[in-house]
Symmetry: C2
Subunit: 212 residues, 2 copies
Protein backbone atom coordinates (compact mmCIF):
# COMPACT_ATOMS: atom_id res chain seq x y z
CA UNK A 1 0.00 0.00 0.00
CA UNK A 2 1.35 3.39 -0.98
CA UNK A 3 1.94 6.11 1.61
CA UNK A 4 -0.88 8.24 0.30
CA UNK A 5 -3.42 5.46 0.31
CA UNK A 6 -2.92 4.44 3.93
CA UNK A 7 -3.03 8.04 5.00
CA UNK A 8 -6.32 8.50 3.22
CA UNK A 9 -7.67 5.32 4.76
CA UNK A 10 -6.80 6.56 8.24
CA UNK A 11 -8.48 9.90 7.55
CA UNK A 12 -11.62 8.33 6.16
CA UNK A 13 -11.87 5.85 9.02
CA UNK A 14 -11.26 8.57 11.60
CA UNK A 15 -13.90 10.83 10.08
CA UNK A 16 -16.49 8.06 10.18
CA UNK A 17 -15.69 7.12 13.77
CA UNK A 18 -15.41 10.72 14.96
CA UNK A 19 -18.80 11.51 13.47
CA UNK A 20 -20.40 8.43 14.94
CA UNK A 21 -18.96 8.43 18.45
CA UNK A 22 -17.54 11.90 18.95
CA UNK A 23 -13.86 12.64 18.54
CA UNK A 24 -12.93 12.48 22.26
CA UNK A 25 -14.42 8.98 22.50
CA UNK A 26 -12.35 7.49 19.68
CA UNK A 27 -8.85 6.21 20.43
CA UNK A 28 -6.02 5.81 17.99
CA UNK A 29 -6.17 2.06 18.62
CA UNK A 30 -9.82 2.10 17.69
CA UNK A 31 -9.09 3.86 14.43
CA UNK A 32 -6.21 1.56 13.56
CA UNK A 33 -8.30 -1.49 14.37
CA UNK A 34 -11.22 -0.29 12.26
CA UNK A 35 -8.91 0.60 9.39
CA UNK A 36 -7.30 -2.83 9.58
CA UNK A 37 -3.80 -1.53 10.26
CA UNK A 38 -1.54 -1.61 13.30
CA UNK A 39 -1.42 1.20 15.88
CA UNK A 40 2.27 1.65 15.08
CA UNK A 41 1.47 2.20 11.45
CA UNK A 42 -1.03 4.90 12.32
CA UNK A 43 1.71 6.73 14.22
CA UNK A 44 3.95 6.47 11.20
CA UNK A 45 1.45 8.59 9.27
CA UNK A 46 0.24 10.97 11.98
CA UNK A 47 1.89 12.38 15.05
CA UNK A 48 -1.25 11.95 17.15
CA UNK A 49 -5.02 12.08 17.09
CA UNK A 50 -5.13 15.87 17.16
CA UNK A 51 -3.02 15.80 14.02
CA UNK A 52 -5.70 13.73 12.30
CA UNK A 53 -8.48 16.02 13.49
CA UNK A 54 -6.54 19.06 12.31
CA UNK A 55 -6.03 17.56 8.86
CA UNK A 56 -9.75 16.83 8.63
CA UNK A 57 -10.48 20.42 9.63
CA UNK A 58 -8.18 21.67 6.87
CA UNK A 59 -10.09 19.60 4.35
CA UNK A 60 -13.33 20.99 5.63
CA UNK A 61 -11.92 24.47 5.13
CA UNK A 62 -10.95 23.66 1.56
CA UNK A 63 -14.47 22.50 0.83
CA UNK A 64 -16.35 25.29 2.59
CA UNK A 65 -14.29 28.15 1.20
CA UNK A 66 -15.76 28.21 -2.32
CA UNK A 67 -19.25 28.10 -0.81
CA UNK A 68 -18.60 31.34 1.06
CA UNK A 69 -17.57 33.36 -1.94
CA UNK A 70 -20.24 35.94 -2.73
CA UNK A 71 -19.56 38.21 -5.67
CA UNK A 72 -19.69 41.85 -4.60
CA UNK A 73 -22.00 42.80 -7.46
CA UNK A 74 -23.87 39.52 -7.76
CA UNK A 75 -27.65 39.52 -7.71
CA UNK A 76 -28.56 36.12 -6.31
CA UNK A 77 -32.19 35.07 -6.16
CA UNK A 78 -33.68 33.48 -3.08
CA UNK A 79 -33.30 30.14 -4.79
CA UNK A 80 -29.58 30.69 -5.33
CA UNK A 81 -29.20 31.35 -1.63
CA UNK A 82 -31.30 28.40 -0.69
CA UNK A 83 -29.08 26.16 -2.79
CA UNK A 84 -25.98 27.67 -1.26
CA UNK A 85 -27.22 27.10 2.28
CA UNK A 86 -28.17 23.58 1.41
CA UNK A 87 -24.64 22.80 0.21
CA UNK A 88 -23.10 24.36 3.31
CA UNK A 89 -25.27 22.34 5.66
CA UNK A 90 -24.69 19.14 3.75
CA UNK A 91 -20.95 19.68 4.02
CA UNK A 92 -21.18 20.44 7.74
CA UNK A 93 -23.09 17.22 8.22
CA UNK A 94 -20.27 15.25 6.62
CA UNK A 95 -17.80 16.80 9.09
CA UNK A 96 -20.20 17.01 11.99
CA UNK A 97 -17.71 15.83 14.62
CA UNK A 98 -16.06 19.24 14.29
CA UNK A 99 -19.19 21.02 15.46
CA UNK A 100 -20.28 18.53 18.05
CA UNK A 101 -17.80 20.01 20.51
CA UNK A 102 -16.05 22.84 18.82
CA UNK A 103 -15.09 24.46 22.10
CA UNK A 104 -13.17 21.48 23.39
CA UNK A 105 -11.47 20.88 20.08
CA UNK A 106 -10.31 24.49 20.02
CA UNK A 107 -9.05 24.24 23.58
CA UNK A 108 -7.13 21.07 22.81
CA UNK A 109 -5.70 21.73 19.37
CA UNK A 110 -3.42 24.72 19.16
CA UNK A 111 -4.15 27.16 16.32
CA UNK A 112 -7.63 25.78 15.83
CA UNK A 113 -9.20 28.56 17.86
CA UNK A 114 -7.76 31.15 15.54
CA UNK A 115 -8.77 29.24 12.42
CA UNK A 116 -12.33 28.82 13.67
CA UNK A 117 -12.48 32.47 14.51
CA UNK A 118 -11.36 33.38 11.01
CA UNK A 119 -13.93 31.02 9.55
CA UNK A 120 -16.71 32.64 11.58
CA UNK A 121 -15.64 36.05 10.32
CA UNK A 122 -15.67 34.81 6.77
CA UNK A 123 -19.15 33.40 7.21
CA UNK A 124 -20.33 36.61 8.83
CA UNK A 125 -19.09 38.61 5.86
CA UNK A 126 -20.71 36.24 3.39
CA UNK A 127 -24.06 36.51 5.16
CA UNK A 128 -23.78 40.28 5.23
CA UNK A 129 -23.02 40.48 1.51
CA UNK A 130 -25.94 38.20 0.88
CA UNK A 131 -28.39 40.38 2.83
CA UNK A 132 -26.98 43.55 1.27
CA UNK A 133 -27.51 42.10 -2.17
CA UNK A 134 -31.09 41.10 -1.44
CA UNK A 135 -31.70 44.57 -0.12
CA UNK A 136 -30.27 46.22 -3.23
CA UNK A 137 -32.60 44.09 -5.31
CA UNK A 138 -35.52 45.16 -3.18
CA UNK A 139 -36.31 41.58 -2.21
CA UNK A 140 -35.70 42.20 1.45
CA UNK A 141 -36.62 45.21 3.52
CA UNK A 142 -34.52 45.69 6.63
CA UNK A 143 -32.55 48.48 8.24
CA UNK A 144 -28.84 48.38 8.98
CA UNK A 145 -29.10 47.80 12.68
CA UNK A 146 -31.49 44.92 12.27
CA UNK A 147 -29.20 43.42 9.69
CA UNK A 148 -26.41 42.98 12.19
CA UNK A 149 -28.69 41.13 14.56
CA UNK A 150 -30.11 38.98 11.81
CA UNK A 151 -26.65 38.02 10.62
CA UNK A 152 -25.49 37.15 14.11
CA UNK A 153 -28.51 34.94 14.71
CA UNK A 154 -28.06 33.22 11.36
CA UNK A 155 -24.44 32.62 12.26
CA UNK A 156 -25.44 31.12 15.58
CA UNK A 157 -27.86 28.73 13.91
CA UNK A 158 -25.29 27.75 11.30
CA UNK A 159 -22.64 27.12 13.93
CA UNK A 160 -24.85 25.28 16.40
CA UNK A 161 -27.56 23.41 14.55
CA UNK A 162 -25.61 20.17 14.86
CA UNK A 163 -25.27 20.06 18.65
CA UNK A 164 -28.85 21.26 18.91
CA UNK A 165 -30.10 18.49 16.65
CA UNK A 166 -28.17 16.00 18.73
CA UNK A 167 -29.53 17.40 21.99
CA UNK A 168 -33.03 17.22 20.54
CA UNK A 169 -32.37 13.59 19.64
CA UNK A 170 -33.04 14.42 16.04
CA UNK A 171 -32.07 11.12 14.44
CA UNK A 172 -31.83 12.54 10.93
CA UNK A 173 -28.28 13.83 11.08
CA UNK A 174 -27.01 11.07 8.84
CA UNK A 175 -29.88 10.96 6.37
CA UNK A 176 -30.18 14.71 5.94
CA UNK A 177 -33.43 15.47 7.74
CA UNK A 178 -31.70 17.60 10.37
CA UNK A 179 -29.98 19.56 7.61
CA UNK A 180 -33.34 20.29 5.98
CA UNK A 181 -34.81 21.41 9.29
CA UNK A 182 -31.91 23.76 9.85
CA UNK A 183 -32.18 25.28 6.37
CA UNK A 184 -35.90 25.78 6.90
CA UNK A 185 -35.16 27.45 10.22
CA UNK A 186 -32.74 29.85 8.57
CA UNK A 187 -35.17 30.71 5.81
CA UNK A 188 -37.89 31.42 8.34
CA UNK A 189 -35.60 33.87 10.04
CA UNK A 190 -35.59 36.25 7.10
CA UNK A 191 -39.24 35.65 6.24
CA UNK A 192 -40.60 38.69 8.15
CA UNK A 193 -38.37 40.99 6.11
CA UNK A 194 -39.19 39.59 2.67
CA UNK A 195 -41.45 41.29 0.14
CA UNK A 196 -44.04 39.42 -1.87
CA UNK A 197 -43.96 37.19 -3.82
CA UNK A 198 -40.69 35.96 -2.31
CA UNK A 199 -42.19 35.66 1.18
CA UNK A 200 -44.88 33.24 0.06
CA UNK A 201 -42.40 31.32 -2.05
CA UNK A 202 -39.99 30.91 0.84
CA UNK A 203 -42.80 29.93 3.19
CA UNK A 204 -43.94 27.23 0.81
CA UNK A 205 -40.37 26.13 0.21
CA UNK A 206 -39.54 25.92 3.90
CA UNK A 207 -42.75 24.05 4.58
CA UNK A 208 -42.21 21.44 1.89
CA UNK A 209 -38.62 21.23 3.04
CA UNK A 210 -39.58 20.10 6.50
CA UNK A 211 -41.76 17.37 5.07
CA UNK A 212 -39.10 15.57 3.05
Amino acid sequence: MTHRKTRELILATSLALFNELGEPNVTTNHVADEAGISPGNLYYHFRNREDIALELFKRYLLEIRPLLVIEEDAEPSMEDLWLRLHLVFELMGRYRFLFRNLTDLCARISNLQRAVHALLDRQRKALLLMIESLRRQGIIHIDGHETDNLVETMLLIITCWIPFAQASSNPGLADGQAQSDAVAQLLHLILPYLREPEASQVETLAHSYRET
Copy 2:
Protein backbone atom coordinates in the same frame (compact mmCIF):
# COMPACT_ATOMS: atom_id res chain seq x y z
CA MET B 1 -15.71 18.49 58.77
CA THR B 2 -19.22 17.15 58.51
CA HIS B 3 -20.28 14.88 55.65
CA ARG B 4 -22.51 17.51 54.12
CA LYS B 5 -19.89 20.21 54.16
CA THR B 6 -17.20 18.25 52.33
CA ARG B 7 -19.73 17.13 49.76
CA GLU B 8 -20.70 20.73 49.13
CA LEU B 9 -17.08 21.74 48.90
CA ILE B 10 -16.43 19.10 46.26
CA LEU B 11 -19.47 20.22 44.29
CA ALA B 12 -18.55 23.90 44.44
CA THR B 13 -14.94 23.20 43.47
CA SER B 14 -15.99 20.92 40.63
CA LEU B 15 -18.45 23.47 39.28
CA ALA B 16 -15.78 26.17 39.24
CA LEU B 17 -13.21 23.94 37.53
CA PHE B 18 -15.70 22.44 35.09
CA ASN B 19 -16.83 25.91 34.05
CA GLU B 20 -13.31 27.17 33.67
CA LEU B 21 -11.65 24.24 31.89
CA GLY B 22 -14.48 22.12 30.58
CA GLU B 23 -15.68 19.02 32.38
CA PRO B 24 -13.73 16.49 30.28
CA ASN B 25 -10.48 18.31 31.06
CA VAL B 26 -10.85 18.17 34.83
CA THR B 27 -9.72 15.06 36.71
CA THR B 28 -10.90 13.88 40.08
CA ASN B 29 -7.36 14.41 41.36
CA HIS B 30 -7.49 17.97 40.14
CA VAL B 31 -10.75 18.60 41.98
CA ALA B 32 -9.49 16.98 45.18
CA ASP B 33 -6.27 18.96 45.02
CA GLU B 34 -8.09 22.25 44.46
CA ALA B 35 -10.54 21.48 47.25
CA GLY B 36 -7.67 20.67 49.59
CA ILE B 37 -8.77 17.10 50.25
CA SER B 38 -7.35 13.72 49.27
CA PRO B 39 -8.44 11.84 46.14
CA GLY B 40 -9.59 8.99 48.36
CA ASN B 41 -11.85 11.31 50.27
CA LEU B 42 -13.47 12.50 47.08
CA TYR B 43 -14.33 8.92 46.22
CA TYR B 44 -15.86 8.49 49.63
CA HIS B 45 -18.41 11.13 48.70
CA PHE B 46 -18.93 10.42 44.99
CA ARG B 47 -18.71 7.27 42.93
CA ASN B 48 -16.96 9.05 40.07
CA ARG B 49 -16.76 12.29 38.13
CA GLU B 50 -19.97 11.60 36.23
CA ASP B 51 -21.70 11.31 39.57
CA ILE B 52 -20.57 14.83 40.44
CA ALA B 53 -21.66 16.21 37.07
CA LEU B 54 -25.03 14.52 37.44
CA GLU B 55 -25.57 16.01 40.88
CA LEU B 56 -24.72 19.46 39.50
CA PHE B 57 -27.19 18.92 36.70
CA LYS B 58 -29.89 18.03 39.21
CA ARG B 59 -29.24 21.27 41.06
CA TYR B 60 -29.46 23.17 37.82
CA LEU B 61 -32.84 21.53 37.21
CA LEU B 62 -34.05 22.56 40.65
CA GLU B 63 -33.08 26.14 39.94
CA ILE B 64 -34.38 26.39 36.40
CA ARG B 65 -37.73 24.75 37.04
CA PRO B 66 -39.45 27.68 38.80
CA LEU B 67 -38.24 29.98 36.00
CA LEU B 68 -40.11 27.89 33.43
CA VAL B 69 -43.47 28.05 35.14
CA ILE B 70 -45.82 30.22 33.10
CA GLU B 71 -49.34 30.61 34.46
CA GLU B 72 -51.88 29.55 31.85
CA ASP B 73 -53.93 32.72 32.27
CA ALA B 74 -51.08 35.09 33.12
CA GLU B 75 -50.69 38.29 31.16
CA PRO B 76 -46.98 39.05 31.33
CA SER B 77 -45.67 42.28 29.89
CA MET B 78 -42.60 42.39 27.70
CA GLU B 79 -40.66 43.53 30.73
CA ASP B 80 -41.75 40.49 32.73
CA LEU B 81 -40.47 38.27 29.96
CA TRP B 82 -37.26 40.18 29.65
CA LEU B 83 -36.64 39.72 33.37
CA ARG B 84 -37.45 36.03 33.11
CA LEU B 85 -35.05 35.52 30.22
CA HIS B 86 -32.38 37.41 32.06
CA LEU B 87 -32.69 35.12 35.09
CA VAL B 88 -32.58 32.01 32.91
CA PHE B 89 -29.44 33.13 31.11
CA GLU B 90 -27.75 34.16 34.31
CA LEU B 91 -28.43 30.72 35.75
CA MET B 92 -27.16 28.98 32.63
CA GLY B 93 -23.98 31.01 32.87
CA ARG B 94 -23.39 29.73 36.37
CA TYR B 95 -23.68 26.15 35.12
CA ARG B 96 -22.14 26.76 31.73
CA PHE B 97 -20.04 23.59 31.69
CA LEU B 98 -23.28 21.68 31.12
CA PHE B 99 -23.89 23.46 27.83
CA ARG B 100 -20.36 23.62 26.64
CA ASN B 101 -20.58 20.03 25.45
CA LEU B 102 -24.04 18.81 26.16
CA THR B 103 -23.83 16.11 23.51
CA ASP B 104 -20.81 14.41 25.01
CA LEU B 105 -22.17 14.65 28.53
CA CYS B 106 -25.39 13.00 27.41
CA ALA B 107 -23.47 10.27 25.62
CA ARG B 108 -21.35 9.60 28.68
CA ILE B 109 -23.82 9.88 31.54
CA SER B 110 -26.69 7.47 31.39
CA ASN B 111 -30.15 8.99 31.87
CA LEU B 112 -28.89 12.47 31.13
CA GLN B 113 -30.07 12.32 27.54
CA ARG B 114 -33.62 11.70 28.69
CA ALA B 115 -33.48 14.42 31.32
CA VAL B 116 -32.14 16.95 28.83
CA HIS B 117 -34.82 15.97 26.38
CA ALA B 118 -37.49 16.51 29.02
CA LEU B 119 -35.98 19.87 29.91
CA LEU B 120 -36.04 20.98 26.28
CA ASP B 121 -39.71 20.01 26.05
CA ARG B 122 -40.46 21.98 29.17
CA GLN B 123 -38.68 25.03 27.78
CA ARG B 124 -40.48 24.65 24.47
CA LYS B 125 -43.83 24.64 26.25
CA ALA B 126 -42.92 27.66 28.36
CA LEU B 127 -41.92 29.62 25.27
CA LEU B 128 -45.13 28.63 23.52
CA LEU B 129 -47.27 29.74 26.47
CA MET B 130 -45.35 32.97 26.54
CA ILE B 131 -45.99 33.70 22.85
CA GLU B 132 -49.62 32.67 23.14
CA SER B 133 -50.10 35.04 26.02
CA LEU B 134 -48.50 37.95 24.17
CA ARG B 135 -50.73 37.17 21.24
CA ARG B 136 -53.87 37.14 23.38
CA GLN B 137 -52.88 40.54 24.73
CA GLY B 138 -52.43 41.83 21.20
CA ILE B 139 -48.81 42.70 21.85
CA ILE B 140 -47.53 40.29 19.25
CA HIS B 141 -48.96 39.51 15.84
CA ILE B 142 -47.97 36.13 14.48
CA ASP B 143 -49.74 33.14 12.98
CA GLY B 144 -49.63 29.63 14.40
CA HIS B 145 -47.24 28.18 11.89
CA GLU B 146 -44.76 30.98 12.35
CA THR B 147 -45.02 30.54 16.09
CA ASP B 148 -43.62 27.01 15.93
CA ASN B 149 -40.62 28.19 13.96
CA LEU B 150 -40.04 31.14 16.25
CA VAL B 151 -40.17 28.93 19.33
CA GLU B 152 -37.77 26.43 17.84
CA THR B 153 -35.27 29.13 16.95
CA MET B 154 -35.56 30.69 20.39
CA LEU B 155 -34.94 27.26 21.88
CA LEU B 156 -31.86 26.81 19.73
CA ILE B 157 -30.43 30.14 20.84
CA ILE B 158 -31.17 29.38 24.49
CA THR B 159 -29.55 25.97 24.25
CA CYS B 160 -26.51 27.02 22.25
CA TRP B 161 -25.58 30.59 23.08
CA ILE B 162 -22.86 29.38 25.42
CA PRO B 163 -20.86 27.27 22.94
CA PHE B 164 -21.40 29.99 20.35
CA ALA B 165 -20.06 32.69 22.67
CA GLN B 166 -17.05 30.49 23.35
CA ALA B 167 -16.47 29.81 19.67
CA SER B 168 -16.70 33.55 19.00
CA SER B 169 -14.13 34.10 21.73
CA ASN B 170 -16.60 36.25 23.57
CA PRO B 171 -14.71 36.80 26.82
CA GLY B 172 -17.73 38.02 28.74
CA LEU B 173 -19.10 34.68 29.83
CA ALA B 174 -18.01 35.18 33.41
CA ASP B 175 -18.88 38.86 33.75
CA GLY B 176 -22.28 38.64 32.11
CA GLN B 177 -21.69 40.39 28.80
CA ALA B 178 -22.35 37.24 26.79
CA GLN B 179 -25.61 36.75 28.68
CA SER B 180 -26.72 40.26 27.78
CA ASP B 181 -25.84 39.70 24.14
CA ALA B 182 -27.86 36.52 24.09
CA VAL B 183 -30.89 38.13 25.69
CA ALA B 184 -30.69 40.96 23.17
CA GLN B 185 -30.49 38.41 20.38
CA LEU B 186 -33.63 36.68 21.63
CA LEU B 187 -35.54 39.93 21.95
CA HIS B 188 -34.58 40.90 18.41
CA LEU B 189 -36.02 37.64 17.21
CA ILE B 190 -39.57 38.63 18.14
CA LEU B 191 -39.12 42.26 17.19
CA PRO B 192 -40.64 41.94 13.68
CA TYR B 193 -43.85 40.57 15.15
CA LEU B 194 -44.32 43.21 17.86
CA ARG B 195 -46.85 46.02 17.71
CA GLU B 196 -46.02 49.56 18.74
CA PRO B 197 -45.12 50.86 21.25
CA GLU B 198 -43.61 47.56 22.42
CA ALA B 199 -41.44 47.23 19.31
CA SER B 200 -39.68 50.53 19.91
CA GLN B 201 -39.35 49.77 23.59
CA VAL B 202 -37.75 46.41 22.94
CA GLU B 203 -35.46 47.85 20.32
CA THR B 204 -34.25 50.50 22.75
CA LEU B 205 -33.96 47.95 25.51
CA ALA B 206 -31.97 45.50 23.40
CA HIS B 207 -29.73 48.26 22.19
CA SER B 208 -28.90 49.61 25.62
CA TYR B 209 -28.50 46.04 26.74
CA ARG B 210 -25.67 45.39 24.34
CA GLU B 211 -23.86 48.48 25.54
CA THR B 212 -23.61 47.51 29.20
